[in-house]
Protein backbone atom coordinates (compact mmCIF):
# COMPACT_ATOMS: atom_id res chain seq x y z
CA UNK A 1 0.00 0.00 0.00
CA UNK A 2 1.21 3.47 -0.80
CA UNK A 3 0.31 6.69 0.90
CA UNK A 4 0.63 9.75 -1.29
CA UNK A 5 -0.32 13.34 -0.64
CA UNK A 6 0.71 16.98 -0.59
CA UNK A 7 0.82 17.22 -4.37
CA UNK A 8 3.22 14.31 -4.77
CA UNK A 9 5.69 15.71 -2.27
CA UNK A 10 4.71 13.08 0.29
CA UNK A 11 4.76 9.49 -0.86
CA UNK A 12 5.28 6.72 1.67
CA UNK A 13 5.30 3.00 1.06
CA UNK A 14 3.36 1.09 3.72
CA UNK A 15 3.64 -2.70 3.63
CA UNK A 16 0.61 -4.00 5.48
CA UNK A 17 2.14 -7.33 6.52
CA UNK A 18 5.06 -5.73 8.30
CA UNK A 19 2.82 -3.25 10.08
CA UNK A 20 0.56 -6.06 11.30
CA UNK A 21 3.64 -7.95 12.50
CA UNK A 22 4.78 -4.85 14.33
CA UNK A 23 1.38 -4.63 16.01
CA UNK A 24 1.51 -8.27 17.08
CA UNK A 25 5.02 -7.79 18.48
CA UNK A 26 3.75 -4.82 20.46
CA UNK A 27 0.91 -6.92 21.85
CA UNK A 28 3.29 -9.70 22.89
CA UNK A 29 5.46 -7.08 24.53
CA UNK A 30 2.58 -5.70 26.52
CA UNK A 31 1.93 -9.17 27.95
CA UNK A 32 5.59 -9.62 28.89
CA UNK A 33 5.73 -6.18 30.49
CA UNK A 34 2.69 -6.87 32.63
CA UNK A 35 4.07 -10.28 33.61
CA UNK A 36 7.37 -8.61 34.40
CA UNK A 37 5.67 -6.08 36.67
CA UNK A 38 3.89 -8.85 38.52
CA UNK A 39 6.82 -11.29 38.87
CA UNK A 40 9.52 -11.20 41.52
CA UNK A 41 10.39 -11.94 45.09
CA UNK A 42 7.29 -9.95 46.02
CA UNK A 43 4.66 -11.50 43.71
CA UNK A 44 1.61 -9.40 42.86
CA UNK A 45 -1.70 -10.11 41.20
CA UNK A 46 -2.62 -8.19 38.06
CA UNK A 47 -5.21 -6.12 39.91
CA UNK A 48 -2.57 -5.14 42.44
CA UNK A 49 -0.17 -4.15 39.67
CA UNK A 50 -2.82 -1.99 38.08
CA UNK A 51 -3.68 -0.41 41.39
CA UNK A 52 -0.03 0.23 42.16
CA UNK A 53 0.50 1.84 38.77
CA UNK A 54 -2.50 4.05 39.34
CA UNK A 55 -1.13 4.94 42.74
CA UNK A 56 -4.21 3.60 44.43
CA UNK A 57 -2.81 0.42 45.96
CA UNK A 58 -3.92 -0.26 49.50
CA UNK A 59 -0.51 -1.79 50.11
CA UNK A 60 2.31 0.78 50.39
CA UNK A 61 4.96 -1.87 49.67
CA UNK A 62 3.29 -2.92 46.42
CA UNK A 63 3.36 0.65 45.15
CA UNK A 64 7.05 0.99 45.97
CA UNK A 65 7.97 -2.34 44.40
CA UNK A 66 6.09 -1.63 41.18
CA UNK A 67 6.87 2.03 40.75
CA UNK A 68 10.41 2.27 42.10
CA UNK A 69 11.90 -1.10 41.16
CA UNK A 70 9.97 -2.94 38.49
CA UNK A 71 8.75 -0.10 36.32
CA UNK A 72 12.21 1.38 35.59
CA UNK A 73 13.50 -2.13 35.04
CA UNK A 74 10.80 -2.86 32.48
CA UNK A 75 11.41 0.48 30.80
CA UNK A 76 15.17 -0.07 30.60
CA UNK A 77 14.56 -3.52 29.13
CA UNK A 78 12.37 -1.99 26.44
CA UNK A 79 14.76 0.75 25.44
CA UNK A 80 17.96 -1.28 25.70
CA UNK A 81 16.44 -4.08 23.62
CA UNK A 82 15.37 -1.65 20.92
CA UNK A 83 18.81 -0.03 20.83
CA UNK A 84 20.59 -3.38 20.60
CA UNK A 85 18.26 -4.58 17.85
CA UNK A 86 18.82 -1.44 15.79
CA UNK A 87 22.56 -1.53 16.46
CA UNK A 88 22.85 -5.08 15.13
CA UNK A 89 20.59 -4.49 12.15
CA UNK A 90 22.55 -1.41 11.06
CA UNK A 91 25.91 -3.13 11.55
CA UNK A 92 24.84 -6.22 9.61
CA UNK A 93 23.72 -4.16 6.64
CA UNK A 94 26.73 -1.84 6.61
CA UNK A 95 29.23 -4.69 6.83
CA UNK A 96 27.05 -6.86 4.56
CA UNK A 97 27.69 -9.68 7.01
CA UNK A 98 24.74 -11.48 8.60
CA UNK A 99 26.98 -12.75 11.43
CA UNK A 100 27.95 -9.36 12.80
CA UNK A 101 26.89 -8.20 16.22
CA UNK A 102 28.26 -5.42 18.44
CA UNK A 103 28.91 -7.95 21.20
CA UNK A 104 30.78 -10.26 18.84
CA UNK A 105 33.18 -7.75 17.27
CA UNK A 106 34.28 -6.07 20.48
CA UNK A 107 32.21 -2.89 20.43
CA UNK A 108 30.23 -3.95 23.50
CA UNK A 109 33.40 -5.19 25.18
CA UNK A 110 35.06 -1.83 24.57
CA UNK A 111 32.09 -0.05 26.07
CA UNK A 112 32.15 -2.42 29.05
CA UNK A 113 35.85 -1.84 29.60
CA UNK A 114 35.22 1.90 29.73
CA UNK A 115 32.45 1.47 32.27
CA UNK A 116 34.44 -0.97 34.41
CA UNK A 117 37.38 1.43 34.32
CA UNK A 118 35.13 4.21 35.54
CA UNK A 119 33.81 2.03 38.34
CA UNK A 120 37.15 0.62 39.47
CA UNK A 121 39.58 3.45 38.82
CA UNK A 122 37.29 6.42 39.48
CA UNK A 123 34.74 5.21 42.01
CA UNK A 124 33.48 8.73 42.65
CA UNK A 125 32.76 9.51 39.00
CA UNK A 126 29.29 10.64 37.98
CA UNK A 127 27.21 7.78 36.57
CA UNK A 128 26.17 10.13 33.76
CA UNK A 129 29.70 9.79 32.42
CA UNK A 130 29.17 6.11 31.73
CA UNK A 131 27.29 6.39 28.42
CA UNK A 132 29.81 8.94 27.17
CA UNK A 133 32.81 6.80 28.09
CA UNK A 134 31.11 3.69 26.71
CA UNK A 135 30.37 5.46 23.43
CA UNK A 136 33.93 6.77 23.06
CA UNK A 137 35.46 3.36 23.76
CA UNK A 138 33.02 1.53 21.51
CA UNK A 139 33.76 3.97 18.72
CA UNK A 140 37.50 3.52 19.20
CA UNK A 141 37.09 -0.25 18.91
CA UNK A 142 34.94 0.09 15.78
CA UNK A 143 37.56 2.35 14.22
CA UNK A 144 40.37 -0.07 15.05
CA UNK A 145 38.55 -3.07 13.58
CA UNK A 146 37.60 -1.10 10.48
CA UNK A 147 41.12 0.07 9.84
CA UNK A 148 42.59 -3.39 10.37
CA UNK A 149 39.97 -5.26 8.40
CA UNK A 150 39.39 -2.86 5.53
CA UNK A 151 42.86 -2.92 3.99
CA UNK A 152 41.93 -5.50 1.41
CA UNK A 153 38.48 -5.37 -0.11
CA UNK A 154 38.05 -9.07 -0.85
CA UNK A 155 36.76 -11.01 2.10
CA UNK A 156 36.69 -7.79 4.10
CA UNK A 157 33.42 -8.74 5.79
CA UNK A 158 34.78 -11.97 7.23
CA UNK A 159 38.02 -10.28 8.25
CA UNK A 160 35.94 -7.66 10.03
CA UNK A 161 34.25 -10.23 12.21
CA UNK A 162 37.37 -12.36 12.84
CA UNK A 163 39.37 -9.26 13.70
CA UNK A 164 36.53 -8.27 15.99
CA UNK A 165 36.71 -11.63 17.77
CA UNK A 166 40.43 -11.05 18.39
CA UNK A 167 39.90 -7.50 19.58
CA UNK A 168 37.05 -8.66 21.81
CA UNK A 169 39.32 -11.26 23.43
CA UNK A 170 41.98 -8.62 24.07
CA UNK A 171 39.54 -6.19 25.66
CA UNK A 172 37.88 -8.91 27.71
CA UNK A 173 41.31 -9.79 29.11
CA UNK A 174 41.90 -6.14 30.04
CA UNK A 175 38.52 -5.99 31.76
CA UNK A 176 39.21 -9.16 33.71
CA UNK A 177 42.60 -7.78 34.72
CA UNK A 178 40.92 -4.66 36.05
CA UNK A 179 38.56 -6.80 38.08
CA UNK A 180 41.45 -8.38 39.99
CA UNK A 181 41.63 -5.05 41.80
CA UNK A 182 38.17 -5.55 43.18
CA UNK A 183 37.13 -7.22 46.38
CA UNK A 184 35.13 -10.43 46.30
CA UNK A 185 31.76 -8.68 46.62
CA UNK A 186 32.63 -6.13 43.94
CA UNK A 187 33.82 -8.92 41.68
CA UNK A 188 30.55 -10.77 42.07
CA UNK A 189 28.62 -7.60 41.30
CA UNK A 190 30.87 -6.79 38.36
CA UNK A 191 30.50 -10.28 36.93
CA UNK A 192 26.76 -9.85 37.20
CA UNK A 193 26.97 -6.52 35.41
CA UNK A 194 29.38 -7.89 32.80
CA UNK A 195 26.93 -10.69 32.08
CA UNK A 196 24.39 -8.06 31.14
CA UNK A 197 21.86 -7.58 33.89
CA UNK A 198 18.84 -5.36 34.46
CA UNK A 199 18.98 -6.24 38.13
CA UNK A 200 20.41 -3.00 39.45
CA UNK A 201 18.75 -0.39 37.23
CA UNK A 202 16.63 2.39 38.65
CA UNK A 203 14.97 5.52 37.41
CA UNK A 204 18.36 7.22 36.86
CA UNK A 205 19.43 4.66 34.25
CA UNK A 206 15.94 4.57 32.79
CA UNK A 207 15.88 8.31 32.22
CA UNK A 208 19.41 8.52 30.80
CA UNK A 209 18.78 5.60 28.48
CA UNK A 210 15.46 6.94 27.25
CA UNK A 211 17.03 10.31 26.49
CA UNK A 212 19.81 8.64 24.49
CA UNK A 213 17.27 6.59 22.58
CA UNK A 214 15.16 9.65 21.78
CA UNK A 215 18.25 11.40 20.45
CA UNK A 216 19.22 8.39 18.32
CA UNK A 217 15.76 7.68 16.90
CA UNK A 218 15.79 10.40 14.19
CA UNK A 219 19.28 9.30 13.16
CA UNK A 220 18.01 5.75 12.76
CA UNK A 221 15.12 7.06 10.65
CA UNK A 222 17.60 8.90 8.45
CA UNK A 223 19.79 5.77 8.23
CA UNK A 224 17.15 3.70 6.46
CA UNK A 225 17.77 5.33 3.08
CA UNK A 226 21.56 5.03 2.81
CA UNK A 227 21.29 1.50 4.25
CA UNK A 228 18.85 0.52 1.50
CA UNK A 229 21.45 1.44 -1.10
CA UNK A 230 24.46 0.13 0.83
CA UNK A 231 22.98 -3.34 1.20
CA UNK A 232 23.51 -3.74 -2.55
CA UNK A 233 27.25 -3.27 -2.11
CA UNK A 234 29.48 -0.19 -2.00
CA UNK A 235 29.92 0.20 -5.76
CA UNK A 236 26.22 -0.06 -6.54
CA UNK A 237 25.60 2.45 -3.75
CA UNK A 238 28.04 4.88 -5.32
CA UNK A 239 26.25 4.46 -8.63
CA UNK A 240 22.96 5.26 -6.91
CA UNK A 241 24.36 8.46 -5.52
CA UNK A 242 25.39 7.60 -1.96
CA UNK A 243 28.58 9.10 -0.57
CA UNK A 244 29.69 5.73 0.66
CA UNK A 245 32.62 6.55 2.95
CA UNK A 246 30.94 9.25 5.05
CA UNK A 247 27.73 7.22 5.06
CA UNK A 248 29.55 4.14 6.37
CA UNK A 249 31.28 6.14 9.08
CA UNK A 250 27.98 7.73 10.12
CA UNK A 251 26.15 4.41 10.16
CA UNK A 252 28.81 2.56 12.13
CA UNK A 253 28.87 5.48 14.56
CA UNK A 254 25.10 5.17 14.90
CA UNK A 255 25.34 1.43 15.51
CA UNK A 256 28.08 1.96 18.08
CA UNK A 257 26.15 4.73 19.83
CA UNK A 258 23.08 2.51 20.13
CA UNK A 259 25.11 -0.39 21.54
CA UNK A 260 27.10 1.85 23.88
CA UNK A 261 24.01 3.51 25.33
CA UNK A 262 22.51 0.10 26.05
CA UNK A 263 25.74 -1.31 27.49
CA UNK A 264 26.23 1.69 29.77
CA UNK A 265 22.84 1.00 31.32
CA UNK A 266 22.61 -2.79 31.46
CA UNK A 267 26.03 -4.19 30.62
CA UNK A 268 26.94 -6.12 27.49
CA UNK A 269 23.84 -8.17 26.73
CA UNK A 270 25.17 -10.36 23.95
CA UNK A 271 23.69 -11.78 20.76
CA UNK A 272 20.57 -9.58 20.77
CA UNK A 273 22.02 -7.48 17.96
CA UNK A 274 22.83 -10.67 16.07
CA UNK A 275 19.56 -12.50 16.53
CA UNK A 276 16.98 -9.70 16.43
CA UNK A 277 17.52 -8.70 12.77
CA UNK A 278 17.31 -12.33 11.66
CA UNK A 279 14.12 -12.95 13.60
CA UNK A 280 12.71 -9.69 12.25
CA UNK A 281 13.40 -10.88 8.72
CA UNK A 282 11.63 -14.15 9.46
CA UNK A 283 8.64 -12.38 10.97
CA UNK A 284 7.86 -10.10 8.04
CA UNK A 285 9.31 -8.94 4.77
CA UNK A 286 9.94 -5.22 4.91
CA UNK A 287 11.98 -2.43 3.44
CA UNK A 288 14.98 -1.26 5.38
CA UNK A 289 13.10 1.34 7.43
CA UNK A 290 10.50 -1.07 8.70
CA UNK A 291 13.14 -3.75 9.08
CA UNK A 292 14.93 -1.47 11.56
CA UNK A 293 11.65 -0.98 13.43
CA UNK A 294 10.97 -4.72 13.44
CA UNK A 295 14.52 -5.46 14.61
CA UNK A 296 14.03 -2.94 17.41
CA UNK A 297 10.76 -4.55 18.44
CA UNK A 298 12.30 -8.02 18.29
CA UNK A 299 15.26 -6.82 20.33
CA UNK A 300 12.87 -5.47 22.94
CA UNK A 301 11.05 -8.79 23.03
CA UNK A 302 14.34 -10.70 23.43
CA UNK A 303 15.73 -8.55 26.23
CA UNK A 304 12.44 -8.27 28.12
CA UNK A 305 11.68 -11.97 27.96
CA UNK A 306 15.30 -12.88 28.77
CA UNK A 307 15.10 -10.67 31.86
CA UNK A 308 11.77 -12.16 32.87
CA UNK A 309 13.00 -15.72 32.29
CA UNK A 310 16.23 -15.06 34.17
CA UNK A 311 14.28 -13.80 37.15
CA UNK A 312 11.69 -16.57 37.15
CA UNK A 313 13.70 -19.66 36.17
CA UNK A 314 15.93 -20.11 39.23
CA UNK A 315 14.24 -17.79 41.72
CA UNK A 316 15.36 -16.59 44.19
CA UNK A 317 18.67 -16.50 42.24
CA UNK A 318 18.49 -13.90 39.49
CA UNK A 319 20.12 -14.98 36.25
CA UNK A 320 21.37 -11.95 34.28
CA UNK A 321 19.51 -11.39 31.03
CA UNK A 322 22.83 -11.54 29.17
CA UNK A 323 23.38 -15.14 30.26
CA UNK A 324 19.96 -16.06 28.92
CA UNK A 325 20.52 -14.27 25.61
CA UNK A 326 23.98 -15.85 25.21
CA UNK A 327 22.67 -19.34 25.98
CA UNK A 328 19.94 -18.84 23.38
CA UNK A 329 21.87 -16.66 20.93
CA UNK A 330 25.05 -18.73 20.61
CA UNK A 331 23.22 -21.76 19.17
CA UNK A 332 21.40 -19.43 16.76
CA UNK A 333 24.79 -18.03 15.78
CA UNK A 334 25.92 -21.60 15.07
CA UNK A 335 22.80 -22.16 12.95
CA UNK A 336 23.61 -19.02 10.99
CA UNK A 337 27.12 -20.33 10.29
CA UNK A 338 25.53 -23.48 8.92
CA UNK A 339 23.28 -21.60 6.52
CA UNK A 340 24.40 -21.68 2.92
CA UNK A 341 25.95 -18.41 1.77
CA UNK A 342 25.54 -17.25 -1.76
CA UNK A 343 28.58 -15.87 -3.44
Amino acid sequence: MTLRGAGGRLALALPIGALVALGLLAAALAVICVASLATGSYPLRLAEVAAALAGAAPDEAATTVVREFRLPRVLVGLVAGALLGVSGAVLQIVTRNPLTDPSLVGVSQGASLAVVTLIVAMPGADAALRPVAAFAAGLAVAAVIQSIAARRTEGATMRFILTGIGVAAFIAALTTALLTYGAMQDALAAIGWLSGSLHAVGWGEAKALTLSALALAPVAAWAARPLAALRLGPEVAIGLGVRVRPARVALITLSTACAAAAVAAVGPIGFVGLVAPHLARRIARAGVGLHLALAAATGVLLVSSADLAGRAAFAPVQIPAGIVTAALGAPIFALLILRPRRR
Binding site: T2, R9, A11, A13, R225, R231, I238, G239, L240
Partner: protein, 286 residues
Protein backbone atom coordinates in the same frame (compact mmCIF):
# COMPACT_ATOMS: atom_id res chain seq x y z
CA UNK B 1 12.01 -11.30 -29.92
CA UNK B 2 11.25 -8.36 -27.76
CA UNK B 3 13.70 -6.22 -29.66
CA UNK B 4 11.04 -3.74 -30.66
CA UNK B 5 9.33 -3.18 -27.36
CA UNK B 6 8.18 0.37 -27.11
CA UNK B 7 9.65 2.02 -24.11
CA UNK B 8 9.31 5.58 -23.02
CA UNK B 9 12.53 7.40 -23.31
CA UNK B 10 14.00 8.89 -20.15
CA UNK B 11 13.36 12.58 -19.86
CA UNK B 12 17.02 13.37 -20.22
CA UNK B 13 17.44 11.42 -23.43
CA UNK B 14 17.24 13.13 -26.78
CA UNK B 15 15.43 11.62 -29.76
CA UNK B 16 17.24 8.58 -31.04
CA UNK B 17 17.43 10.01 -34.54
CA UNK B 18 19.96 12.68 -33.61
CA UNK B 19 21.90 10.41 -31.30
CA UNK B 20 24.87 10.28 -33.59
CA UNK B 21 25.17 14.06 -33.82
CA UNK B 22 25.01 14.83 -30.13
CA UNK B 23 28.02 16.04 -28.22
CA UNK B 24 29.27 13.52 -25.70
CA UNK B 25 28.08 14.22 -22.16
CA UNK B 26 30.83 12.15 -20.59
CA UNK B 27 34.43 12.97 -21.42
CA UNK B 28 37.70 11.83 -19.93
CA UNK B 29 40.72 14.08 -20.19
CA UNK B 30 44.30 13.17 -19.31
CA UNK B 31 43.11 10.66 -16.73
CA UNK B 32 45.54 8.79 -14.52
CA UNK B 33 44.29 6.52 -11.75
CA UNK B 34 45.28 3.48 -9.78
CA UNK B 35 45.09 1.64 -6.48
CA UNK B 36 47.09 2.62 -3.42
CA UNK B 37 49.96 4.42 -5.15
CA UNK B 38 50.18 1.97 -8.05
CA UNK B 39 49.14 3.82 -11.21
CA UNK B 40 47.15 1.64 -13.58
CA UNK B 41 45.81 4.27 -16.02
CA UNK B 42 48.17 6.68 -17.73
CA UNK B 43 46.92 9.90 -19.27
CA UNK B 44 43.79 8.50 -20.92
CA UNK B 45 41.44 10.54 -23.15
CA UNK B 46 38.03 9.08 -23.93
CA UNK B 47 34.58 10.28 -25.05
CA UNK B 48 31.46 8.22 -24.54
CA UNK B 49 29.82 8.12 -27.97
CA UNK B 50 26.24 9.33 -27.41
CA UNK B 51 23.44 6.88 -28.02
CA UNK B 52 25.81 4.07 -28.79
CA UNK B 53 27.30 0.96 -27.19
CA UNK B 54 30.98 1.45 -26.51
CA UNK B 55 32.94 -1.57 -25.31
CA UNK B 56 36.28 -1.42 -23.54
CA UNK B 57 38.47 -4.46 -24.15
CA UNK B 58 42.04 -5.43 -23.47
CA UNK B 59 44.17 -8.03 -21.72
CA UNK B 60 43.91 -8.54 -17.96
CA UNK B 61 45.32 -5.61 -16.02
CA UNK B 62 45.12 -3.25 -18.99
CA UNK B 63 43.11 -0.73 -16.98
CA UNK B 64 39.72 -1.10 -18.66
CA UNK B 65 37.88 -1.69 -15.39
CA UNK B 66 39.91 1.04 -13.74
CA UNK B 67 38.83 3.50 -16.42
CA UNK B 68 35.20 2.52 -15.92
CA UNK B 69 35.51 2.84 -12.14
CA UNK B 70 37.08 6.27 -12.46
CA UNK B 71 34.25 7.36 -14.79
CA UNK B 72 31.74 6.03 -12.26
CA UNK B 73 33.53 7.90 -9.40
CA UNK B 74 34.25 4.67 -7.56
CA UNK B 75 37.90 5.62 -7.93
CA UNK B 76 39.32 9.10 -7.56
CA UNK B 77 41.75 9.94 -10.36
CA UNK B 78 45.32 10.87 -9.43
CA UNK B 79 45.53 13.24 -12.40
CA UNK B 80 43.26 14.54 -15.15
CA UNK B 81 39.50 14.65 -14.88
CA UNK B 82 36.20 13.09 -15.84
CA UNK B 83 33.75 15.68 -17.19
CA UNK B 84 29.99 15.32 -17.05
CA UNK B 85 28.44 18.04 -19.24
CA UNK B 86 31.69 19.94 -18.91
CA UNK B 87 31.81 19.90 -15.11
CA UNK B 88 34.24 17.79 -13.13
CA UNK B 89 32.37 14.65 -12.15
CA UNK B 90 34.19 14.14 -8.89
CA UNK B 91 33.21 17.62 -7.66
CA UNK B 92 29.52 17.40 -8.53
CA UNK B 93 26.99 16.39 -5.84
CA UNK B 94 26.94 12.63 -6.06
CA UNK B 95 23.14 12.44 -6.21
CA UNK B 96 23.01 14.77 -9.20
CA UNK B 97 25.55 12.57 -10.94
CA UNK B 98 23.43 9.54 -10.10
CA UNK B 99 20.53 11.05 -12.02
CA UNK B 100 22.68 11.32 -15.14
CA UNK B 101 24.96 8.33 -14.89
CA UNK B 102 24.28 4.79 -13.65
CA UNK B 103 26.78 2.10 -12.76
CA UNK B 104 26.48 -1.67 -12.73
CA UNK B 105 29.62 -3.02 -11.04
CA UNK B 106 31.08 -6.43 -11.73
CA UNK B 107 29.41 -9.39 -10.03
CA UNK B 108 27.13 -7.49 -7.65
CA UNK B 109 25.61 -9.54 -4.82
CA UNK B 110 22.01 -8.91 -3.82
CA UNK B 111 21.05 -8.93 -0.13
CA UNK B 112 19.13 -12.00 0.94
CA UNK B 113 15.40 -12.24 0.39
CA UNK B 114 15.12 -9.32 -2.01
CA UNK B 115 12.65 -9.88 -4.87
CA UNK B 116 13.32 -8.84 -8.45
CA UNK B 117 10.90 -5.92 -8.22
CA UNK B 118 12.41 -4.71 -4.95
CA UNK B 119 15.85 -4.77 -6.50
CA UNK B 120 14.72 -2.84 -9.57
CA UNK B 121 12.91 -0.34 -7.35
CA UNK B 122 16.23 0.44 -5.68
CA UNK B 123 17.24 2.13 -8.94
CA UNK B 124 14.89 4.97 -8.04
CA UNK B 125 17.09 5.88 -5.09
CA UNK B 126 18.55 9.12 -6.48
CA UNK B 127 15.05 10.36 -7.31
CA UNK B 128 13.68 9.79 -3.82
CA UNK B 129 13.83 11.53 -0.46
CA UNK B 130 12.97 10.55 3.10
CA UNK B 131 9.43 11.88 2.64
CA UNK B 132 9.02 11.06 -1.03
CA UNK B 133 9.68 7.36 -1.01
CA UNK B 134 7.47 5.96 -3.70
CA UNK B 135 5.89 8.37 -6.18
CA UNK B 136 3.74 7.44 -9.15
CA UNK B 137 6.72 8.38 -11.29
CA UNK B 138 8.84 5.78 -9.46
CA UNK B 139 6.24 3.07 -10.07
CA UNK B 140 6.10 3.92 -13.77
CA UNK B 141 9.88 3.92 -14.18
CA UNK B 142 10.22 0.54 -12.44
CA UNK B 143 7.48 -1.03 -14.55
CA UNK B 144 9.08 0.24 -17.72
CA UNK B 145 12.54 -0.88 -16.75
CA UNK B 146 11.27 -4.36 -15.94
CA UNK B 147 9.44 -4.53 -19.23
CA UNK B 148 12.49 -3.35 -21.15
CA UNK B 149 14.77 -5.89 -19.48
CA UNK B 150 12.09 -8.57 -19.84
CA UNK B 151 12.11 -9.45 -16.15
CA UNK B 152 8.47 -8.61 -15.38
CA UNK B 153 7.49 -12.28 -15.35
CA UNK B 154 9.56 -13.03 -12.26
CA UNK B 155 8.96 -9.72 -10.56
CA UNK B 156 7.99 -11.25 -7.24
CA UNK B 157 10.49 -14.09 -7.11
CA UNK B 158 13.55 -13.75 -4.86
CA UNK B 159 16.69 -12.81 -6.77
CA UNK B 160 18.51 -15.78 -5.28
CA UNK B 161 16.09 -18.17 -6.99
CA UNK B 162 16.83 -16.85 -10.50
CA UNK B 163 19.38 -18.11 -12.99
CA UNK B 164 22.56 -16.13 -13.53
CA UNK B 165 21.30 -14.55 -16.74
CA UNK B 166 17.93 -13.64 -15.25
CA UNK B 167 19.61 -12.17 -12.20
CA UNK B 168 21.92 -10.06 -14.30
CA UNK B 169 18.95 -8.77 -16.33
CA UNK B 170 17.34 -7.73 -13.04
CA UNK B 171 20.43 -5.74 -12.15
CA UNK B 172 20.34 -4.13 -15.57
CA UNK B 173 16.68 -3.31 -15.01
CA UNK B 174 17.73 -1.66 -11.76
CA UNK B 175 20.15 0.69 -13.51
CA UNK B 176 17.53 1.28 -16.22
CA UNK B 177 15.03 2.36 -13.58
CA UNK B 178 17.55 4.97 -12.54
CA UNK B 179 16.58 6.67 -15.85
CA UNK B 180 19.98 8.03 -16.64
CA UNK B 181 21.18 8.75 -20.12
CA UNK B 182 24.56 7.23 -19.37
CA UNK B 183 25.05 3.63 -18.29
CA UNK B 184 28.39 2.18 -17.23
CA UNK B 185 28.63 -1.61 -16.96
CA UNK B 186 31.63 -3.53 -15.66
CA UNK B 187 31.82 -6.99 -17.22
CA UNK B 188 28.04 -7.47 -17.34
CA UNK B 189 28.44 -10.97 -18.80
CA UNK B 190 30.86 -12.59 -16.35
CA UNK B 191 29.62 -15.76 -14.61
CA UNK B 192 26.98 -16.22 -17.35
CA UNK B 193 26.67 -19.13 -19.72
CA UNK B 194 26.69 -18.46 -23.46
CA UNK B 195 22.94 -17.97 -23.74
CA UNK B 196 22.94 -15.64 -20.76
CA UNK B 197 25.75 -13.61 -22.32
CA UNK B 198 23.89 -13.23 -25.61
CA UNK B 199 20.62 -12.31 -23.85
CA UNK B 200 22.35 -9.62 -21.81
CA UNK B 201 24.20 -8.17 -24.80
CA UNK B 202 21.04 -8.07 -26.95
CA UNK B 203 19.31 -6.27 -24.12
CA UNK B 204 22.09 -3.70 -23.88
CA UNK B 205 22.07 -3.09 -27.62
CA UNK B 206 18.30 -2.69 -27.57
CA UNK B 207 18.56 -0.15 -24.78
CA UNK B 208 20.92 1.97 -26.84
CA UNK B 209 18.87 1.62 -30.02
CA UNK B 210 15.33 2.13 -28.78
CA UNK B 211 15.96 4.48 -25.90
CA UNK B 212 18.88 6.43 -27.23
CA UNK B 213 20.92 5.85 -24.11
CA UNK B 214 24.69 5.90 -23.98
CA UNK B 215 26.30 2.64 -22.83
CA UNK B 216 29.89 2.00 -21.90
CA UNK B 217 30.72 -1.59 -20.97
CA UNK B 218 33.85 -3.48 -20.09
CA UNK B 219 33.90 -6.92 -21.69
CA UNK B 220 36.25 -9.82 -21.38
CA UNK B 221 35.19 -11.67 -24.48
CA UNK B 222 36.55 -10.17 -27.68
CA UNK B 223 34.05 -11.73 -30.09
CA UNK B 224 31.13 -10.69 -27.90
CA UNK B 225 32.42 -7.12 -28.13
CA UNK B 226 32.83 -7.39 -31.90
CA UNK B 227 29.30 -8.74 -32.31
CA UNK B 228 27.50 -6.09 -30.28
CA UNK B 229 29.61 -2.95 -29.96
CA UNK B 230 29.16 0.21 -31.98
CA UNK B 231 32.57 1.37 -30.83
CA UNK B 232 35.43 -0.67 -29.49
CA UNK B 233 38.17 0.84 -27.35
CA UNK B 234 41.24 -1.36 -27.07
CA UNK B 235 43.48 -0.78 -24.09
CA UNK B 236 46.83 -2.06 -23.03
CA UNK B 237 49.14 -1.12 -20.14
CA UNK B 238 46.77 1.60 -18.99
CA UNK B 239 46.60 3.38 -22.33
CA UNK B 240 44.13 3.43 -25.24
CA UNK B 241 45.78 1.71 -28.22
CA UNK B 242 42.95 1.78 -30.73
CA UNK B 243 39.36 2.98 -30.91
CA UNK B 244 36.67 2.87 -33.57
CA UNK B 245 34.06 0.69 -35.21
CA UNK B 246 34.64 -3.07 -34.79
CA UNK B 247 35.56 -3.62 -38.42
CA UNK B 248 38.15 -0.86 -38.17
CA UNK B 249 39.90 -1.93 -34.97
CA UNK B 250 39.48 -5.69 -35.15
CA UNK B 251 42.43 -6.23 -37.43
CA UNK B 252 45.32 -8.70 -37.08
CA UNK B 253 47.94 -5.96 -36.52
CA UNK B 254 45.89 -4.27 -33.78
CA UNK B 255 45.12 -7.58 -32.10
CA UNK B 256 48.77 -8.45 -32.19
CA UNK B 257 49.68 -5.08 -30.72
CA UNK B 258 47.08 -5.15 -27.94
CA UNK B 259 46.77 -8.82 -27.03
CA UNK B 260 50.01 -10.18 -28.44
CA UNK B 261 47.72 -12.53 -30.32
CA UNK B 262 48.33 -14.09 -33.70
CA UNK B 263 44.81 -14.19 -35.14
CA UNK B 264 42.95 -14.16 -38.40
CA UNK B 265 39.72 -12.30 -38.93
CA UNK B 266 36.56 -13.86 -40.33
CA UNK B 267 33.17 -12.27 -40.90
CA UNK B 268 29.84 -13.32 -39.50
CA UNK B 269 27.95 -14.26 -42.68
CA UNK B 270 24.69 -12.83 -41.28
CA UNK B 271 25.76 -9.57 -39.71
CA UNK B 272 29.04 -8.92 -41.43
CA UNK B 273 30.63 -8.37 -38.00
CA UNK B 274 34.27 -9.40 -37.56
CA UNK B 275 35.13 -12.60 -35.70
CA UNK B 276 38.57 -13.15 -34.29
CA UNK B 277 40.00 -16.65 -34.64
CA UNK B 278 43.37 -17.09 -32.90
CA UNK B 279 45.85 -19.21 -34.81
CA UNK B 280 46.46 -22.43 -32.92
CA UNK B 281 49.36 -23.65 -35.04
CA UNK B 282 49.54 -26.87 -37.02
CA UNK B 283 48.74 -30.12 -35.28
CA UNK B 284 51.90 -32.09 -34.85
CA UNK B 285 51.65 -35.86 -34.70
CA UNK B 286 52.25 -37.26 -31.26
Amino acid sequence: MGDFIEARRPASAMPAGVAGNRTPRLRVRGLSAGYGGRTVLHDVDFDAAPGRVTVLVGPNGCGKSTLLKAMARVLRPSAGEVLLDGASLHDLPTRRVARALALLPQGPTPPEGLTARELVAQGRFPHQTLFRQWSAEDARAVDEAMRAADVAKFADRPIAALSGGERQRCWIAMVLAQETELLLLDEPTTFLDLKGQIDVMRLLRRIARTEGRTLVAVLHELNLAAAFADEIVMMRDGRVRAAGAPEDVMTPPVLHDVFGLDAQMLRDPETGRPICVPRTGPETPA
